[in-house]
Symmetry: C2
Subunit: 348 residues, 2 copies
């Protein structure tokens, strides 16, 4: 079901800013709120988790609407229905654009909690997500521990690494130096398309791997253009069609802010407060959040199960290798002593 | 010694183009031409190998001018003294700019051979280089096998991978979409500085590693800017000051063309023609030319020694970890039964 939920009044942000009458685009599946799951999306994702994580949906899978109430929201600062840089402030004629306030992963989580209150969901059996979604998952474990039964952060660490911040920075430079960016005051019909496309092209490299590109493209050529070149150009163009540059900047800033210890205390000590059962999934070929970083997160969480998704697909394996991921998550849930519906997909 | 060597007449290029009266910037060290070494530089390098590979120079090191004649040239298409896009065609008032013809790694090698003829060097004991330099090293093994005693390709494969081509393509897009690029017809005082800086920022990420950035920067901040952000911006700015955008494009195109099999036959069969003793060095943390790719090159060369440079520094370890690299190369040379001068650096 699609919902557009408005939260009347003032929403306070960690950075000191405020937003009024925040709107949130929400999808829900199923009716049995006694067992609820929250799905958190990554950078360019949205509330339509059945589209970008379809392999995990269905009878006998992790997201089974017959047995569970499943919720996904477009994050705060997004451009797929939730209040963000493309939204107009209450009573204004022009969108926020570059005046949209700085937000953090924690702000995203507070908003999700408010939405779940509206939906009448007081307890989540599982909060799950990869990459930026995984950052939200971890913050759920700290901000609302009493509401969360288990968490599954995937392909993420306890803080955004210098490496990931560096890769963000190159993308930020690509977008902000596009003359069309105009300090963020571009008209919707003339966005910084080249800069956003460049950022996406580089991001796609960081989401994939040497091995996945080699097996998919090698040195195939068409009229002097290598297959991988055409693929990346296409990725750049299509992102420009579906995503907004100010939003992209808002969200990579939020990702770079990710640090469980920020304004709280020593990162490891804070992470140890996450006492829920945690399934931490690392991907063997992940360049952006390498396995060692994810493993280090698992080692610091007091009640973690570390699982390795063995895949050549790189960081994006959490989106592409859903059969294996479904098995991993179901195995974890089964180990918690939950009744996991197995449906037609076989034995435990 | 610095040389500027002009090769009068027509220089034919693999792609069908020609150049006239090609000039080459050359550095030489030592006098004993009976034992000669050629150093090949990487993308933004130049003939001043004692500056960017200083750790390998000196008494008892791989490059010892007392016992060997050492040559390094700025590559064809470069912008540090050799004919390239910033040069003026014979008799013209304007530089080649975007009209500079397409070149390949093989063209670079043919030019180096002509330079060595001018210098009276008919035999090279060793041809060595990393990254784009390693591509030239491999082509030396195929194009002039009778002139080369041994080769040392470092951090490179038998062909540019789809992964590396993809990373090139994102950089190419950054440069060519900068409005200042003007299809390559920018004035020297108004180059596509933003695009070239973005490209360099991406490239620097690919040259380093998660671990090196984490140990150097972690999440250190100064006035709201992370250390890694300031570092990458500085890297972008300084490259713009010392490098030309058309040249950058010319050279990454040449790198993307790298394929030992191109227009020759099956790549592995061609690689097997390189029968000289070959020291193939891979770097454990290399993201751009991962260890597995370099190892695969070593496995196909019939007379190769594979050495692992164990370093967290990423691809650039061949430039930063020179003590270890010097040991590796000296060990290889000693194994060839050469008289390797050990100087003050100890025993064999």
């Amino acid at each position: 079901m699609k919902h557009l939920i408005t939260l009347p009044g003032v929403f306070h942000l960690e950075g000191g800013g405020t937003l009024r009458d925040v709107e949130v685009s929400v999808r829900t599946w199923g009716r049995h709120r006694s067992s609820a799951t929250l799905i958190c999306h990554a950078l360019t994702g949205n509330a339509d988790a059945d589209e970008w994580w379809g392999g995990l949906f269905g009878m006998g899978r992790v997201f089974d609407p017959n047995t569970s109430y499943i919720v996904s929201t477009n994050v705060l600062g997004g451009c797929s229905g939730t209040t963000g840089p493309t939204s107009k402030p209450t009573g204004a004629d022009e969108p926020f654009g570059p005046d949209f306030p700085s937000i953090t992963i924690r702000d995203m989580v507070h908003l999700q909690k408010a939405v779940l209150d509206e939906l009448g969901v007081t307890h989540l059996d599982l909060v799950i997500g990869g990459s930026m979604g995984g950052m939200q998952v971890l913050e759920w474990g700290i901000l609302y521990p009493d509401r969360v039964g288990a968490i599954a952060p995937i392909a993420v660490g306890s803080a955004q690494s210098a490496w990931a911040i560096g890769i963000s920075e190159a993308q930020r430079h690509a977008i902000t130096s596009d003359p069309n960016f105009s300090a963020g005051r571009y008209p919707p019909q003339a966005p910084p398309a080249d800069g956003l496309a460049t950022a996406r092209m580089f991001a796609m490299c960081s989401y994939r791997s040497h091995e996945s590109f080699e097996s998919k493209f090698a040195r195939t050529e068409d009229a002097g253009t290598f297959g991988v070149q055409a693929y990346l150009r296409h990725q750049g163009t299509t992102l420009v069609e579906r995503f907004d540059a100010n939003t992209y900047l808002t969200l990579i800033d939020a990702m770079d802010s990710h640090d469980l210890g920020r304004n709280r205390g020593p990162r490891e000590a804070i992470a140890r407060r996450i006492t829920q059962p945690a399934l931490v999934v690392g991907i063997t070929s992940d360049v952006l959040y390498p396995l060692a970083e994810v493993k280090a997160l698992a080692e610091v969480l007091p009640n973690a199960t570390f699982a390795v998704l063995d895949s050549p697909q790189g960081h994006d394996a959490f989106l592409t290798d859903t059969t294996e991921l479904d098995e991993i998550v179901q195995g974890f849930l089964a180990g918690l002593g939950r009744s996991v519906p197995l449906g037609s997909h076989g034995s435990a």
